[in-house]
Amino acid sequence: MEVVRPEAWHKPLPDPDATERPFYEAAARGELRFQQCPACAHRQFYPRALCTACGAAPEWAIASGRGSVYTFTILRQYHAEHFRDELPYVVAMIELEEGVKMFGTLTGCEPEAVRIGLPVEAYAVEVEAGTAIPFWRPA
């Protein structure tokens, strides 16, 4: 996925542990990851130190970055600094081709044009050096 580097990032930042950190580092290289369990094949996101289905240690898998809108909302009122200036904006739950769901801001179209089922692709926003988070835009 494309990696975008904004001039500055004033919004909240992730504070990942050792299990979680590789996700953000991979995203900063343009790679979107999720977890798959070698024991039971369960796929999960967000990443954890265990498989939520069977308890085994999950492994990383690489996602295509393609998916569709599973559900979403258009935020029209929010008082939090750094978000209120961007209203209205869309936050969506994306169902990836690989079956896991990821959360994120959806940009690149009018909020009113967003529909459940809309095909989207991921892009990465580097929020600090070596750490990126997925955003989404119509594919």
């Binding site: 919004k11 504070d15 935020l75 029209r76 801001t105």
Partner: protein, 386 residues
């Protein structure tokens, strides 16, 4: 009825919806004083204490126990969001049956409105810029609380054809009951058009799909059937209580239309030996209109996806067969952050026949369903007239 069956013998509400003169702990104290007066219980007899959401710190329960002067033998600070008090009733019922305590206080208080102002769930919570744990995967994107419920509503509309008009009917019905409650925050009659023409906050939820923000607290006193016989109020029996969790953060909700009520409501009904058709009134956590719709389906009052038409038929309204939130609910009367205890207190009033103009005729069975987080933790309690 067995000697150690759990019974609610006292209830008290602190001042609401606006109480700038009361701190959180003063809400606890006032609600307890009123529950003691209501029940005739001696404060020194309280030996079980359950509370949540006092200050948000990990020493909540022991700090509140010290302030209130409770010498407990049993203590529990289970924190499942606004549903905590339904979980507390489940735990207290088991503790009473097991002889771990004799007289239980379940307590809540909040100065939410006086402290935070009216923010419609769009306030900025916390100031920390570094976020860890499950919230880390959402915090950078700016989704306020109302947005999580909006995502549930959006999916429900997509999957089942639910309409904004049907959701609005929930707010309209609750407002009619608020008109009968002199303390309710908003009492003027409401129409579906009023809801639909109120400002959009997070599509598809309008301002009037969202609960109010208020101050307020409550206290519930529970004991055994044996002890309840000596007390003046008719005891209200705890017939069945069960809880469950599907997620905590909204991104982990799964299919976004189903809650833990699908699992815990049947368990509560089973323990009580009754069915949804037997219930005379429901007291549901109406943080948003969609919260009610999802729990209504998951508790088995209608099939999954049929909540919209069910609500539009008017069953939840005054005069309907399943009157809901007879105190005006969170949507119109009061919501001080964790509304679960108000559900229990209003159900007890109804089962005692103290509902006044809002009294549900021949009210023998009530179901309280609390939702904590984002339909994350659901606690269901079935109460019966003594």
């Amino acid at each position: 009825m067995a000697a150690r069956d759990p019974v609610i013998v006292g209830i008290g509400l602190s001042d609401y919806p606006k109480a700038p003169h009361l701190s959180t702990l003063e809400h606890h104290a006032q609600a307890l004083q009123r529950a003691l007066a209501d029940s005739g219980v001696q404060k020194g007899d309280i030996d079980g204490f359950l509370c949540a959401g006092v200050s948000g710190t990990s020493d909540d329960a022991v700090m509140a126990a010290e302030y209130l002067g409770i010498r407990h033998r049993y203590i529990d600070s289970t924190m499942t969001g606004g549903a905590a008090f339904e979980f507390h009733v489940q735990h207290a019922a088991a503790a009473l049956r097991d002889g771990l305590c004799e007289m239980v206080l379940v307590s809540y208080g909040s100065d939410f409105l006086s402290r935070m102002g009216r923010t419609l769930g769009t306030a900025s919570f916390g100031s920390s810029r570094r976020v860890s744990g499950g919230a880390m995967w959402e915090a950078p994107y700016g989704l306020p609380l109302v947005g999580s419920y909006a995502m549930v509503a959006q999916r429900h509309i997509f999957e089942f054809g639910t309409t904004s008009e049907q959701l609005a009917e929930i707010a309209v019905g609750v407002r009619e009951y608020a008109g009968l409650n002199p303390l309710a925050m908003y009492r003027d009659p409401l129409s579906v058009d009023d809801v639909l023409s109120s400002r959009m906050i997070a599509d598809p939820l309008h301002k009037l799909d969202c609960c109010v923000v208020s101050d307020g607290g409550g206290a519930v006193l529970m004991t055994t059937e044996e002890r309840a016989r000596d007390l003046p109020q008719p005891g209200v029996r705890v017939l069945g209580a069960a809880g469950g969790q599907t997620h905590w953060n909204i991104s982990q909700m799964g299919d976004f239309t189903r809650s833990a009520a699908q699992q815990c409501a049947p368990e509560a009904f089973g323990r009580a030996g009754v069915t949804p058709a037997d219930i005379d009134t429901i007291q549901f956590y109406d943080s948003f209109t969609i919260t009610v719709l999802v729990m209504l389906e998951d508790c088995g009052f209608c099939a999954k996806g049929e909540g919209g038409p069910f609500v539009a038929e008017g069953h939840l309204k005054r005069g309907g067969r399943l009157p809901m939130n007879t105190d005006g609910g969170g949507l119109s009367a009061s919501h001080s952050g964790m509304r679960g205890i108000f559900l229990l207190i209003e159900a007890v009033r109804q089962l005692r026949g103290q509902g006044g103009e809002a009294q549900v005729p021949n009210c023998e069975l009530a179901l309280c369903a609390g939702s904590g987080g984002y339909l994350s933790c659901i606690g269901t309690v079935i109460l019966g007239r003594g």
